[in-house]
């Protein structure tokens, strides 16, 4: 891990160039929208992977961080005219601190207990926001429209700038995740995942490293939240704080391959277009069909290749050599 062969580097460069060229070749708002959603969920999957994939903290509460990011930047913008880019950083920091605050008492929880705690936490956040007048409660918030510019993080005539911003966010997240995994943090998280006892015996403060993981994951997820608010220009608890978002993030990472850097990206490229297109093709009659398809895919993958599609691809790659 960590070392790339020239062929792999070439492959990644080609993919990146293709993604950069995509909006120039494919016109039309819907494909651009699907790609943006793909990047966004890939980014959240990468962030989740730091917790669930590397450190066995199966968070089903990522929507809380997503929502905190979205709400923080929006409220700062609406009430205090703070630039959304600053709001993005503030939201990230708030999410990280929230993550640390809930992570501290939960840091001893293992596996499914952590998952339950994370669901409870996210639901509490959702219910609070649903009833909190200051943040618009259940009616939600509409963002004030600013002139279109990168500085204002707002575009009205085209989705293409959002596409590039989200792509940049995704690349940044992948880089951060990769950097962590090839350094001490990644080794320590994997040791913690194996066994708390073993980690302690090797001098690893697992509370500290788990908190680091939660904070980084929360920060990145909140970044995606701010992005989403700036992109949709409207938010309410039902669109950013609900459990299905958390579940989607977990599925993306698990399907692609938990504990691998590119796994969540692969998972997102399969699941997100599937969900967006089924929604369009089947309309309201098809509500839930994407979830049923997900279910089947997840069952297949966990039965035949627990390491996800990424594991499948690397296995094929090895056989081909």
């Amino acid at each position: 891990m960590g070392k790339f062969t020239p062929r792999q580097i070439a492959l990644y460069v080609v993919i990146l160039v293709a993604l950069v060229a995509f909006p120039l070749v494919v016109k039309g708002t819907f494909p651009t929208h699907v790609m943006i959603m793909f990047f966004m969920f890939a980014m959240m999957g990468v962030a989740w992977n730091l917790l669930g994939g590397y450190a066995a903290m199966f968070s089903f509460g990522q929507a809380a961080f997503f929502g905190i990011g979205a709400y923080t930047s929006t409220i700062l913008l609406m009430n205090y005219h703070v630039n959304p880019w600053i709001g993005l950083v503030v939201g990230g920091v708030l999410a990280a601190l929230t993550g640390a605050a809930i992570g501290m008492p939960c840091s001893n929880l293992r596996g499914h207990y952590f998952a339950i705690a994370s669901i409870a936490f996210a639901e509490i956040v959702r219910i609070c926001f649903n009833n909190w007048k200051f943040v618009g409660a259940a009616e939600g918030l509409s963002l004030p429209l600013l002139p279109e510019s990168l500085g204002n993080f707002m575009f009205h005539t085209t989705k293409v700038p959002y596409y590039y911003i989200m792509l940049a966010f995704l690349v940044l997240s992948i880089f951060i995740c990769w950097y962590i995994t090839v350094n001490r943090g990644g080794f320590y998280l994997r040791a913690i995942k194996e066994s708390h006892e073993l980690a302690k015996g090797m001098g690893i403060s697992f509370v500290r490293y788990r908190l680091y993981a939660i904070m980084i994951s929360a920060f990145l997820t909140a970044m995606a939240g701010t992005f989403y608010a700036q992109y949709i220009l409207y938010l309410d608890p039902e669109s950013v704080l609900i459990l299905p978002i958390s579940v989607q993030v977990v599925l993306v990472a698990m399907l692609g391959g938990a504990g691998t850097i590119m796994g969540p990206v692969i998972g997102a490229v399969i699941l997100i277009p599937l969900s967006e297109y089924t929604r369009v093709w089947l309309g309201t009659k098809g509500t839930g069909v994407d979830m049923m398809l997900y279910g089947v895919l997840i069952m297949l993958i966990s039965a035949y290749q627990p390491k996800g599609v990424w594991g499948l691809l690397t296995a094929i790659g090895k056989r081909a050599k």
Binding site: M1, G2, V182, N183, R184, F187, Y188, R190, A191, E194, S195, E197, L198, A199, K200, G201, M202, G203, I204, S205, F206, G259
Partner: protein
């Protein structure tokens, strides 16, 4: 008995509900010594071991490492101070290669991946695992796994290494190898405490032996004396060493 105290255990008592697993146990370990803790199953050896390494909090008593009171220290701080341990049930990180496992240990003292890798490789050569460096932890034989555990512990650069049954279940040849390795470890300046069932190894390696029964220390001394002690024979050794 040699030199200044590396580790000093004073009156350690550990209760689990009504059960007294360690009862007022005291002993010292000098710098560079190899001391074995022996006793029948359930005698409280592992409890004692866990009290020293910070995995359990004793109800009473103190542990000093080089004069420093470490009784209330958490396990990872104790490791950082220079006491490394292995586990009775072999623990390695299963999705890592042998090299990565050892690197995880080496990260305690260094941060740069390249330096960590070099240090880990050095330890793999020292422990004779360098050929296995790219194999996954779970694919190793029991003997190599135990060796890997020792390597992981050594990678944290301990001054005191504590082994919890590192020799159980090995063939005579494998036993030879691990005994030779532990001798080498001692020669490199590391003090050793060994909790062990394999009497052959204990007798051959130890400078001193501490015998525990029902949570109490019954006797301590050089191996040659221990095997002749009637109480020890009755409690633990049985007929085999009765000679």
């Amino acid at each position: 008995m040699s030199g200044a105290a590396c580790l000093e255990v004073q009156g350690i008592t550990k209760r689990f509900g009504g059960l007294i697993a360690a009862d007022d146990v005291s002993f010292r370990v000098g710098e560079g010594e190899i001391v074995s803790i022996i006793g029948p199953n359930g005698a409280g050896k592992s409890t004692l071991f866990n009290c020293i390494t910070g995995f359990y909090r004793p109800n009473a008593g103190r542990v000093f490492f080089r004069g420093k009171d470490i009784t209330r220290y958490s396990a990872h701080r104790i490791c950082k101070l220079g006491i490394a341990r292995t586990f009775q049930i072999v623990q390695v990180i299963s999705d890592m290669t042998v090299l990565e496992n050892v690197m995880t240990g080496a990260y305690l003292r260094d941060y740069t991946p390249r330096v960590v890798r070099e240090k880990a490789e050095e330890i793999l050569r020292f422990t004779g695992l360098i050929e296995r460096r790219d194999e996954l932890g779970p694919d190793l034989t029991i003997a190599d796994k135990k060796r890997l555990e020792v390597a992981m512990a050594l990678a944290t650069r301990p001054e005191l290494l504590m082994l919890d049954e590192a020799m159980a279940g090995l063939t005579p040849v494998e036993l030879r190898d691990i005994i030779a390795l532990l001798r080498k470890v001692r020669e490199s300046g590391v003090t050793l405490i060994i909790v062990e069932h394999v009497m052959e190894a204990v007798m051959e390696l130890s400078d001193r032996v501490v015998v525990i029964n029902s949570g109490r220390k019954i006797v301590e001394g050089p191996p040659a004396e221990i095997v002749r002690n009637p109480e020890v024979i009755q409690a633990y050794l049985g007929e085999r060493y009765h000679a």
